[in-house]
Subunit: 433 residues, 2 copies
């Protein structure tokens, strides 16, 4: 019988709620914690949702044929030919990831660092997450060699690892694992008989226009499940829709049936009006594609500028190549932080930023790092505006950095970093203004 | 580490999909299996959803304050004063029930018969369902005496039962446990230190206008969680929204926090446009209240007429007092069914009805009954029309039984029962036409 699951609130959502409380209390706050993209709904998608308001039937558990066909087309245009019969829709990619862990069973290998919910979901599913380090600069994918060792150790200890979760492009680091690393990951998964669950929700937010993150589905097609959704590329987190692409072949077909059965018992189906709008979005008509491209550029410009300011302050993020996240490392400033602020770890650093400066970030511990790691995750998704007008203006601005509300936030970041570091680095950044 | 969960597809949703396939193949089919209410969306709710299409933020995990306040008012009008801070919203009451099982932990007592997903959800949560018989004619609530015995036996066997799930009014039987039974259930739960999870999704579908089903929250307020949603009273199953009301006091507050934490890791939040429309619905403005009353009357008239025809054919359902379900017992026809059709159990009876007559029903086994029980569940929710025009006409008809599409289905039921029973009872029913 199950013990009460040792469950903690999602760190990102908890940070959102804490910040909302402080803002309501009249405090000046800067949100760099949330994984939410603060942008507006594209009008054509709003219209599609409204037009589907009469859809009130459960519909089929894996989603409507129109949605599954559109999602299959979305993947096919990205080099992954997809059978609509192997697509499963859910109320977000998060519940799909959870249901996949239940459907696969066994223990779960996860990269460190990695998204806050993988480990928590594994524990809720009754499994134990097995952490595996990444190759530095290539977040989201466990070092394939370390993965082999971790599985061997786990099996020697009579544990039963059956799947590895990867994130390409990566949250929290904003980096992308190299194709060769992903290929070796796929090879290791095949040798070790692991299912690969590839969370590709940031797949459309790769800055290099020629670039895509290499999916493990290219290298281990028979055993890779890909998930994505509308929360990041189209800022539709509040609509709650995700899709999973199951691998073709016997393993994939069995897993598909198990996933659909789990879904039928946990959530039945996904909001039908949202499915209708999502079917349209996954078809990527021109205005949708243009909007995604404009948002991607906005993320790129702002995330790179924020990264530049952290770098100038002496904290070094890996080069940001995708998403709207950076993951600066304050180790070079460790002595100063300890001496002046009594800060010796990522959790203490995040607490200082929140309490002293009203700046919300997530500590590396939320992503599975040890407390001593002087890591925090910075998200730019909430810098694009508060009002709907600002959020419409931001993706279409010639230079988003000149928008007063974005400039103000950037200035505040520089100011806080200068005070925090109290250093030459800080003064140098300040001198630019 | 978890074994692969022994999960099977939801019986109701599987029946829906099987029937849709047969219909597409051109077969004449009659759906009496689905738990879906085939009625239209009330125009004012459609408008509310459309108007909220711009809401794309995650929002808070337990739901918007507007929604939680409206749901609190809904319960307050039904004698359950409710703190909006103790309301939690989810993408259906089904995921809320699952998350509650995870949040509570331990094993789960469920009535027999009971809804198809309680047992499956308990197993997915790593628990074992412990079946407890109902008092005949009072479905949805375990016999309190049998509950005490079952808990004592389970604890003696070192199992850890921590909660009991009840359904008032009941699916599959369409009956309502008597207040005295519910009071004794609450008393037993208190003595045994069990949480009561009371699924009251059919709470607005009690036929007696003066009657409400007695909630365990009246008798064991400190330990009863109540869930409901919009799928049944407003036929909004495809919108996927449910709410849970946590008990006030230390137990309820701790459970609330655990439930919100589980929700944050599994589904984040509930589709924001749907929340906006649901907030309006739970306020029960006059046209919403009128619509619910009209639908309730439709269910009553049709379900009682269907029950009458089963009774005339010799299969005795308990008196139907709520929902749109009946649960006839074919035991009096057992000899005939065995001799003529080789049918000796509920599963075989359901298979015969599907294969020979194209009539989809669910066998008692789907609700936890033994195969030998000659029980099937009949749902009337799909008899109200196929087209939107028919589904709008049905609740407003002076006599729904005179609507040609409903009359035709009723005639088909009589015809099938006459052929099935081949008996005096069958001929007697037939003679009415």
């Amino acid at each position: 019988m199950p013990e009460r699951a040792p469950v903690t609130m999602s760190a990102t959502l908890a940070a959102d709620e804490a910040l909302a409380r402080r803002r309501r209390a009249g405090e000046r706050v800067l949100s760099l914690a949330s994984g939410e993209i603060g942008l507006s709904v594209l009008p054509s998608l709003r219209e599609r949702l409204a037009a589907a308001a009469d859809r009130n039937s459960y519909g089929s558990v894996p989603g409507s044929l129109a949605l599954r066909t559109a999602a299959a087309g979305y993947w096919a245009r990205r080099g992954l030919a997809t059978d609509p019969a192997l697509v499963v829709c859910g109320p977000g990619s998060k519940p799909l990831l959870f249901a996949l862990l239940l459907a696969i069973g066994g223990d779960v290998l996860i990269p460190v660092p990695s998204w806050v919910s993988y480990g928590a979901q594994a524990r809720l599913a009754g499994a134990r997450p097995i952490p595996v380090p990444i190759i530095p600069g290539e977040g989201g994918v466990p070092d394939p060699l370390a993965l082999r060792e971790a599985v061997a150790r786990a099996r020697a200890a009579r544990r039963d690892p059956r799947c590895v979760v990867v994130t390409v492009p990566d949250n929290p680091t904003g980096t992308i694992a190299e194709p060769e690393t992903v290929r070796r990951l796929g090879e290791a998964a095949r040798d070790l008989d692991l299912v690969v669950v590839s969370d590709e929700i940031y797949g459309d937010l790769v800055f290099d226009p020629a670039g895509r993150a290499a999916s493990p589905a290219l290298y281990a097609p028979e055993r890779t499940v890909v998930t994505t959704g509308l929360s990041k590329n189209l800022a539709l987190s509040g609509w709650r829709l995700g899709v999973a692409r199951l691998p073709d072949g016997p393993l994939g077909r069995e897993l598909h049936n198990r996933l659909v059965a789990v879904a039928s018992q946990i959530w039945s189906s996904t909001a039908a009006p949202v499915q209708a709008a999502a079917a349209y979005a996954f078809e990527e008509p021109p205005e949708v594609a243009r909007h995604i491209a404009a948002c991607r550029r906005l993320h790129e410009v702002v995330a790179r500028e924020v990264a530049r300011r952290f770098t100038e302050a002496g904290a070094a993020p890996a080069p940001v190549r995708a998403t709207c996240y950076l993951y600066p490392d304050f180790t070079p400033l460790g002595d100063h932080l300890d001496r002046v602020h009594g800060v010796r770890g990522g959790g203490e650093l995040a607490a200082l930023l929140a309490d002293r400066y009203g700046v919300a970030v997530l500590p590396g511990t939320a992503f599975g790092e040890p407390e001593r790691a002087l890591r925090i995750r910075i998200a730019t998704g909430r810098l694009y505006g508060e009002s709907d007008a600002e959020r419409v203006a931001a993706p279409s601005a010639a230079d988003p950095l000149q928008l007063p509300w974005i400039e103000e936030s950037l200035d505040r970041i520089t100011e806080v970093l200068a005070d925090l570091t109290g250093s030459v680095a800080g003064r140098r950044t300040d001198a630019r203004h």
